[in-house]
Symmetry: D2
Subunit: 347 residues, 4 copies
């Protein structure tokens, strides 16, 4: 099969993936499933992998390369292991990115992403920038009637990360409350749609880019701001003292120490982006009784729920498609912000 | 001032309210507020009062009559007691129907309706079918800019009863889950709008009346059913085994023993209507692990939240207006179902 | 191996299990585990099986008999399938009674007992009244150091049913609140211990038997009542208006229509026992805003948590032991209430 | 009446309170209550007031002095305003430290401490280091039978701050989970008792002082540690990867950047102490999905609940008593750590 493989890490990213013919994956355990890839989302994590950021975590032996990236996959079941009963060849599916064990206590508590024994196709083993890739039965969700793999692939990671954060925010929201979204990109535009459909609260969308501001307005943001130097004062004015919830999709470049200053007493910050360092006096935490919490990739059932929102027409992915043969062009366009929303690779 | 007063109870309802001149209420305690009535909703409870249903609860001494009904009130502050600071004459307000004490433990836990020492204008003392009525500061909510008392008065009781039930349902809902609403009348059409804006779940609206069915469809119900003899089977088919939540706005006429049969394992029934008797084998409760709970009038903050949804244009009251002088016509039309939605009395 | 097998159903229970030599179970699928039985709890469900109550559910083909009952099992791992990694031969384990699939949506939401594809050793297939029985990896919990299978076997079903109900009650409790337990038998005495350790609320234990009353007092009940005709009045007096929570372990014999009358406004009934029929006017549900809900066997993680309480010395099973050879005596003693707490069969 | 009054701020604390005769407070508004002081807790906040720390917040006009400190008060009702109905002269009461308005939206949501219009006797106006002080009806809780003001006064602030944090921790705990308490002083020893009675989880108590370690052991801590340089490693070992919850009663001196490193993935830090600054990379927040939140003084109902735990004998204050005439000695002993637990002033 055709696959795009990475041959070396390069912090400067002056490397290209090689498009080559490799043997397709085959079933070797009873719970495995081979998926014919319909589409695979291109993620900032893929850039970080190329840069070597993940080398010490996912490639400790230095034996991973060459390998196939791609962890936001959707397609059709091609072959199944002997124990698989919930899907059959031909079924259209989206793939939760993480293969959790289902047995450890974290899994039993429903915390898929804390699994003690998980594997991550597209990071630690071959992924979906290819015609086929292999995962396990418990990662698969059958698509609703009329939904194509191409229309949803990035939901598998970008989508559920945004949905998980939005769901946390919705639990803290109520009619009349205010949630601020910092960054209306690939994740932020999904979180905005989710919030407008699962919560009765109000949303302030903040982004420096006019295109993102327009998208936010189109998707129903109650207020759109450009994130200038008056942001804190603007938010306090609009909300009557501060936001009830803030979701920070940036997490660096100084935003990480503005975000929590947008909160009112009792408010909560949900941090999705990363890179920077929060510095907060304990007095501010206590006197304002605010909370600051990180948010990871969503669990399996969060992908199930997001796919239902998508099937109901409530949450849609804005994306740009590239042929697998043009994946290096897609990566270059992504690095240089030549498209908005999400890039998607189609084999 | 002009007021419509009830002079006698009559189970057959062959009595009319008298429109007469009476002295307006005056401030006699520091926390009191006199409100110039903008509009007052006409409620099924008013019919019950006339019939004498509430006599043993609200008029135990037999000394209440003649008095002024009307417990769904909105208007403008006319006069305030010496301790009142949060509103001033001229402010447009809606009035929570119950004057809770704010001091008892139930009040402190936020359960306004369980207050040990509450009073109920329009039931146990004079209410709002008049030019003025008296309540207390802690029952008042200032209207958002641009909202008129006339457009929201029935929110004060019908609205928050529906919202409280919808809020309970929303907590049990998630994208892909199903809530069934039984009865799309004055309360049901509000609950439907609330659910579609505060929850990502799906809603099945059930009503025998074609006009109510059309309203449900217009307001965004995912499925509308006519409540025929196949209802249980229809709901099980559509939902794949039963609803996650059912709200029963009827509660009698046999509906009370159909409602809980619509639930799936782990599902919950929220009962708002009443009159009938539920008969359920404990085995059905346990084996299906279903839950059945009553739901009362909403608390003060639930009226606050509902007014925010209304200000955002998400939840609107469908109503028909009558002059105070025509209140007996309004009552007659209500009894004979000559209007849909809610009747509202305007002084 | 030795096993006690049932050869025929008899509503009058004039049958005995046959103690005979049968081939031990063997591994036939990669996730299976054979357990050497250390002890197996004797349950009222076993009596119902003999009576034929479960025939239409678990033996629809009429091909189940002869078979081995026993669904409350603990012991040591004897053999494991090829995919099993979390336990190894020699490990002391307790067995969740239900083999859930881990794949269906109910399983993924953590609702093990709602699994679409579960099997139930000791009901629908051979169980633990034998030297060995077979279950699956995902049902097993390793025992804490120093805990023996014999001391905990009935925790596997009686224990977690009580714990699940107690956990629901604890979520509704707070210091100063009152929970009423109706029935301090095999389940009730566990629920009482759980509540006293996971909630700061107060507990009223109700049982007609003096021995059960004494046990309740010893285990820390704040008040012990005998369940006489004044029960409702007594509870209202002690609690200042009614209980916040009631757990009914009886569910029949008239108790099912006393239990919900013990609640205060906003209170909740948790029904565990069954057999009777609740008859409740919808007006009582609504005006008092009370809730009535069934409660099933606990999930896997509830057994994990209960085993931690047991390891900490907080919750202990009161039981009487019988040799497997004497199982018919144990059944007879159980029917005739010749022991208190739980009977346990030891191979 | 006798009262201890502060005449000047001094960062070096080389000032003494003057014990002098002043006119007792009198009722001037309908909801006011004069309380005959039974006891008043001495708080670190009192030291901060003397140092001038609160001058810019509570004495912006510079007109407060001379005044009476003391915000942890219990005693007997002496006189009541005309609108007061829930207490009468002679009733033994404990006083929530904050006089909230009961009308603003924060109050209606039950967030007493976020009240838009509150006052704080003992900080911004005269408090309880005197024979009498004045508060309002809505701050009072009648003592349970047999409870004396002397035995509970510091519960009014130190107690509920600890209880609020413990209650948050309990909601995150379950049998088998681990909570770490950093600092077993006036607040920590209350939180420990609370946790052992309202949660089934395990507790690790950490304090450098041998006396505090002994107290922790006596009060039921599962593990007691001395907070040495290996603390993080010790906690990870004992808990199998990190604590589920940490409550930091220190919040400075470097502890504020050790506390969150004790958490496991998904864990939560509750910060009560303050003074230091947290510095945390957003990557740590996100990858471990941990949460960090401040915790304030408890609300009115939290004091109600704590008094119930106290009445049940579950939570007791360890304290040392001083006559009002010796308050300067008490302050000196407090500064120099000459007593453990809490100091209490008795008029
Ligand atoms: Zn990704
Ligand atoms: Zn796992
Ligand atoms: Zn970066
Ligand atoms: Zn009404
Ligand atoms: Zn009250
Ligand atoms: Zn059993
Ligand atoms: Zn399943
Ligand atoms: Zn029975
Ligand atoms: Zn204090
Ligand atoms: Zn307030």
């Amino acid at each position: 099969m055709k696959a795009a493989r990475l041959y070396e890490y390069d912090p400067a990213m002056n490397v290209e993936l090689k498009i080559e013919d490799v043997p397709p994956p085959t079933i070797t355990a009873p719970n495995e499933v081979v998926v014919k890839v319909g589409a695979a989302g291109l993620c900032r994590t893929d850039l970080h992998i190329i840069e070597g950021v993940w080398k010490d975590i996912m490639d400790t032996q230095g034996s991973l390369l060459p390998y196939v990236m791609g962890h936001e996959n959707a397609g059709w079941v091609e072959d199944v292991g002997s124990a698989v009963t919930s899907v059959k060849p031909g079924d259209a599916v989206i793939c939760h990115p993480f293969q959790s064990c289902g047995i450890c206590l974290n899994c039993r508590y429903g915390h898929d992403m804390y699994c003690d024994h998980g594997t991550f196709p597209g990071l630690g083993i071959d992924g979906g920038f290819a015609e086929y890739f292999k995962t396990s039965e418990s990662s698969l969700i059958k698509l609703n009637t009329g939904i194509t793999p191409l229309s949803v692939a990035p939901m598998a990671d970008a989508g559920i990360t945004a949905y998980r954060a939005a769901k946390k925010a919705a639990r803290l929201s109520y009619p009349g409350s205010w949630t601020v979204l910092l960054g209306i990109g690939g994740l932020g535009h999904i979180a905005l749609q989710c919030l407008k459909h699962i919560s009765g609260g109000r949303v302030i969308a903040v982004d420096r880019e006019p295109a993102a501001q327009k998208l936010a307005k189109d998707l129903g943001a109650d207020v759109v701001l450009d994130g200038g130097p008056d942001l804190i004062e603007q938010v306090k004015d609009i909300t009557g003292g501060g936001a009830h919830v803030v979701i920070d999709f940036v997490g660096e470049l100084g935003v990480e120490n503005i975000c929590w200053k947008l909160l009112r007493q009792g408010g909560e910050l949900i941090m999705v982006g990363y890179g920077g360092k929060i510095e907060i006096p304990t007095l501010d935490l206590v006197a304002n009784e605010i909370k600051i919490g990180g948010s990871l990739v969503g669990d399996y059932i969060e992908l199930v729920e997001l796919m239902e929102l998508n099937a109901d027409g409530k949450v849609m992915m804005h994306q740009t498609e590239y042929k697998l043969a043009n994946i290096n062009q897609a990566i270059d366009d992504f690095k240089n912000r030549r498209f908005t929303g999400r890039g998607v690779i189609v084999p």
